[in-house]
Amino acid sequence: EGLSGELRIFSDMSNPAPRAVMEGMVERFGAMHPDLDIELTVIDREAYKTQIRNFLTADAPDVANWYAANRMGPYVNAGLFEDVSDLWAEPDFANLASTKGAMTIDGKQWGVPYTYYQWGIYYRQDIFEELGLTVPTTFDEELANCEKIVASGRACYTIGSKFLWTAGGWFDYMNMRTNGYDFHMALARGEVEWTDDRVRATFANWRKLIDMGGFIEDHQTYSWQEALPFMINGEATAYLMGNFSVPHFRDGGLSDDQLGFYQFPAITEGVAMAEDAPTDTFHIPSNAKNKEAAREFLRFVVSAENQTMINAGDALGQLPVNAASSVDDDKFLEAGFAMLSNDSPGGVAQFFDRDFSAEMASAGMEGLQEFMVYPDNLDDILERLEAVRQDIAQ
């Protein structure tokens, strides 16, 4: 049976590559359903985060992008996302088992994932070679490397923390490596005090990098894109980032010979490695008008064939959520796929601002940014965050 009517899709895939992917998907879906009138609205990724609340209540599209896990909580609780457990009950969805947890709240599923991606350290292979460095696997090696890099007049890491979340990535890794996945998630749920000694240990480790001049200066004035040129120009050698950054590196002129990837090294011995792998999702707003077409679109998005196509290296360059799809022949994708499948025994986290509640995330990331600039303020920062945690807990 042919779908008809209008299908309105709001997407936050506003960077050039994802935008092309999204438009491609709409085109192919449209070709499959010629009677369906699809209207795609792409909204700036940052702006989207504030606007979703408006359009979900006011001007709901039929399909909308969002993020998994805690981040979708408020909308689920407010009844703004459609329960799509029925889709997940379909046989084809069995292949999505790995992400089912992230899509589940109260035992029901509220959307479908379309991509996820590994986080890790992207680095300048050529500079490592030039300095005679090897890929570190422990924090001590990392520190040693960094010392040499700093000595060469470079920074070890570039980062642009103006919009705060990049600092969240650093904290995720420092904390998961220092205290482990379970502790990290407990902290995220607000079950642990921020002033806890274990949290302090995390910051102490992080501080080592800061104190030695590991990060570029003035990162608080840059967005993550604005921090890219530091690495591209060789003023910094590495970037803790999600895999979506690869096209940017390539656009900036780095060849695959120059750009490498490694897993964030271990810190505390015996702590199982856990990774950040944020899952990006599609949802059907409760107020959608054409839910039938929307469900069909969701099925289309997660289909193995589509997953292969959109996550390919020349497209999103990320990992498919469907086990039946194939990972593109791309060194970063393969590395990521391998890392997440095999080397992440501790668990997979979504990301700081998706695992922590919105309020905690906002206050938290601000504190993290401050810490990166003024590590001496740590006590003050932690007390503040603790106050927020207690406030939320009430």
Binding site: D44, F55, A58, D59, L228
Partner: protein
């Protein structure tokens, strides 16, 4: 005239002044000139880390060309016009009426209503934000140009009323009395006598409101999203996201976004300045 007119001062100071003027202007507009220069540099200048040297070649056409061809900028600019022009018309029309009522008639609540409008004009608009957003959403006008236009008209009415009322106040009241003696109805007085006399005020106010609305960012962010309704001020942020660190493109985009009010200012300079002073000073 103060300070002493130049022709009365010493020869050295005259020459000093004449040569100081252009220097002062350049210093004053330095940030802007820098952006203008960025906008005609080719991208290769930036990747080379060469921000401040003279453009290695003139890349104005391709940069500006891309702004218009490769980005939603034209759409945003169109939106800006489609928001700004109806707002100007609406706000000016409404305030002609309110200004007439408050400027011509004596009634007990006159000053109260007038002060209400003024007070509203000075309210920090953040206090309106949440309810106005809800109102717009409930009316189904969220993310429409109409929603933005309606709000702008309402909010500008405060300022415009202040402006128009003071202008009408300054008209000779005998004109109205003469008309009344001649048996001309109140509506005819408004339409045939007051309105034609308000032309300069209407022109000045239109120019003023045009720039206010064109440059609005806050409400654009609160009440709209995406290229189908957002004006260029808000659009420029997504433009930034699109072009990331391509400073030549961002500069070109900023210049394009700033151009209409600047043109407006140059074309309507006299009205504009009249508006600023007329509106504020009685």
């Amino acid at each position: 005239m103060f300070p002493t007119p130049l022709e009365r001062t010493s020869r050295t100071w005259q020459i000093g002044y004449q040569s100081l003027l252009p220097v002062a202007v350049i210093a004053w507009l330095l940030p802007l000139l820098a952006v203008a220069m960025f906008s005609i540099k080719p991208s290769s200048d930036f990747t080379g880390g060469d921000y401040w040297s003279w453009p290695s070649r003139f890349a104005g056409f391709e940069n500006y060309g891309r702004v218009f061809m490769d980005s939603p900028m034209p759409r945003y600019i169109l939106n800006s016009f489609m928001i700004t022009i109806p707002t100007v018309i609406g706000a000016v029309a409404l305030s002609c009426m309110t200004g007439f009522a408050l400027g011509i008639y004596k009634f007990r609540l006159n000053l109260f209503v007038f002060f209400l409008f003024i007070a509203g004009n000075f309210v920090p608009f953040q206090i309106l934000m949440i309810p106005v957003r809800d109102l717009t959403i409930n009316a189904g006008l969220y993310n429409t140009k109409l929603g933005l236009v309606l709000f702008h008209i309402a909010f500008q009415t405060g300022f415009c009323t202040l402006f128009m009322r003071n202008f009408i106040r300054a008209l000779p009241f005998e004109l109205i009395e003469a008309a009344r003696v001649e048996g001309i109805t109140e509506f005819q007085i408004f339409w045939h006598i007051v309105l034609p006399l308000m032309k300069p005020a209407i022109a000045a106010l239109s120019v003023l409101v045009f720039t206010f609305i064109w440059n609005d960012y806050f409400w654009a962010v609160v009440l709209t999203q995406g290229p189908q309704a957002q004006p260029v001020t808000a659009g420029i942020t997504s433009f930034n996201a699109q072009f990331g660190v391509a400073y030549h493109m961002l500069s070109a985009g900023s210049i394009v976004a700033a151009l209409p009010p600047v043109l407006m200012f140059f074309l309507m300079q006299r009205h504009f300045i009249a508006g600023l002073t007329l509106g504020a000073v009685k």
